[in-house]
Subunit: 346 residues, 2 copies
């Protein structure tokens, strides 16, 4: 189904390290005013005068974070950028630049890397971030992608994990769980494919959740939305490792407790249907699945009127005193302690 | 000699990803005034008001860039930081922060990672740079280290690769070739060790060149030295991939040619002795060996008096018109075209 069917194969060694970087980045241009010098020297040069700089970095390893049997390289390149931009968004900052380093084993021809960089370029263009540097090298096994993202913000706009207060509302953007169930569908189809490579699966009933897994988006829109609503979150984090895990982070860092309401969890119908098909409890997946790249934040109670009814935002709970602990309140009003079981690449 | 003899072994999985990051970074504090928020949120927050920001990134892969049979983990951690700081120095900037991401296979116990981070801490303390973030994950094979370094400079102090002029002098800091020959000695001793693990080699005749390989230093001193001498280079690069390769970069980017004089190459006596012992031509190694992390730069002819006789700086050649090409002028005055044969990790 989804295998890389490159006909033409050029050995990467033919280009050499510098030739390879040049080749892969030749179509990238810079558009951010803060980028003075991008790829091509010992370092990039940036100018953030007047803004604070936000930096975040992530490592993606084949066989740990992705499986090339169903993740097309172009999507993977796109996703590698998105997951890093999501971290910048979670500081309520605007992503501006990325560096991308890759290590590849000799099983990857040049054409495969070109596909990867097509996805990287697509994300850079869509999110208007500049590729300003990186490194290419060989690996002993598989594909390794390391991305560092930079962003900018006015100091007064930055939101940390540490300032959630008792009684603050807990708010989530978008919906959750889809990326995890998309992965389950892809894993199932991979097994089918291994048994019968001629089988052409119909993935259309799963299009949304598969896209959530293979081509997630970063919520770069939320900073502006919050500004328009005149709301400044008291704390914020991105939901990369699962809702329960991220709630625990906010609670630990802010020294508060939390009540999360099962009935409030924003779930897509396709996600719910797929959970039923797999006979899995949707709430369990919604709070423990990862990779949704939505933003989770807290706002003051008095900001409720400003955010209620907004289709991008759902109030899913509220913060409590630390001594009350962190709980899921189920539909039948049972109080279950939340433990961080989130997705863990380690 | 060189094997990791950890007695106590703690499985990394016991800590989990967040526990691991916290554990490994708990002794790191920040000292740079530009670091507002380091490890512990979705992103670090920096303030470079008044300065330009320089960013560089490198990926180090076990089996490609290092061999743990002879590179102690503490040295490796130190070196991973140094090679990135060297890139910042090569822009004539001051290194200020680093992010460090690691991926490890399950053969590495916690104690091994602690050793690696001891070296990282040592380098951060020595060079006064702040560790501000990173990622830890598992790998399918071996150890992978990804470092991004940030630095600062006034715009007028930045030096690129692009502005070398005809007649400029070509200047090198320190001496070269040592790191490569240190590696040859270590490779030889590894083979001896594999045959007879009880053999205790005497490495003292090679102490300088082995240190050049295992624990190189970044020339953070050169920016200040040049300021004191009132010299601004016209172009600069660091010598990580070999002198010939770096000269080619300067010439290509600046559209000039170069005459490099064999008799001027600054070589340490221990390096020369070891080349003789290995029956290798020292000039070949000096211009093609890599990993010396010295700085190579060009200055205007009229600055000669300011730099001559300085023990840190050696004039090794001069730039020519592009049409004259890039040549090594040997001791017997033969003109040999230089091709970039530098060390290539690809």
């Amino acid at each position: 189904m989804i295998e890389n069917k490159n006909q033409s194969k050029t050995q990467v060694e033919q280009l050499g390290e510098f030739g390879l970087i040049k080749h892969l980045t030749k179509n990238f241009s810079t558009t951010q005013s803060s980028t003075l010098k991008g790829v091509g020297d010992d370092g990039a040069v940036l100018d953030f005068t007047g803004d604070k700089v936000v930096v975040s970095t992530d490592l993606l390893i084949e066989g740990v974070h992705f499986d090339l049997a169903y993740a097309p390289l172009k999507h993977l390149g796109y996703k590698a950028i998105v997951v890093n931009l999501s971290d910048i968004c979670a500081m309520n900052a605007v992503p501006t630049q990325v560096t991308v380093s890759i290590a590849v084993s000799n099983r990857f021809p040049l054409e495969a890397l070109e596909e990867l960089y097509e996805g990287i370029a697509l994300a850079c263009n869509y999110y208007k971030v500049d590729l300003i540097g990186g490194d290419t090298t060989s690996s002993q096994k598989g594909l390794i992608i390391s991305v560092t993202a930079l962003g900018k913000a006015q100091e007064e706009d930055l939101v940390y994990r540490t300032n959630a207060q008792d009684n603050d509302l807990l708010v989530l953007t978008g919906d959750i769980g889809g990326a995890y169930m998309g992965l389950q569908v892809l894993e199932r189809e991979k097994q089918v494919y291994l048994v019968n490579p001629n089988n052409q699966p119909d993935l259309s009933p799963y299009d949304y959740i598969i896209e959530r897994q293979l081509k997630p988006e970063a919520r770069t829109d939320i900073k502006q939305l919050l500004a328009e609503l005149d709301v400044k979150p008291t704390s914020m984090i991105d939901v990369s490792d699962g809702l329960s895990s991220e709630i625990m982070h906010l609670c630990t860092e802010s020294k508060v407790g939390c009540n999360l309401f099962e009935e409030k969890l924003p779930l897509d119908p396709q996600f719910i249907n797929t959970c039923e098909e797999f006979n899995i409890d949707s709430t369990t997946i919604a709070i423990n699945g990862g990779e949704d790249y939505e933003l989770l934040f807290t706002v003051k109670m008095e900001d409720y009127d400003k955010i209620k009814g907004n289709p991008n935002l759902t109030v899913i709970g509220h913060m409590t005193q630390e001594s009350e602990g962190v709980h899921l309140i189920t539909r039948d009003n049972t109080k279950i302690p939340i433990k961080a079981k989130g997705w863990n690449a380690l």
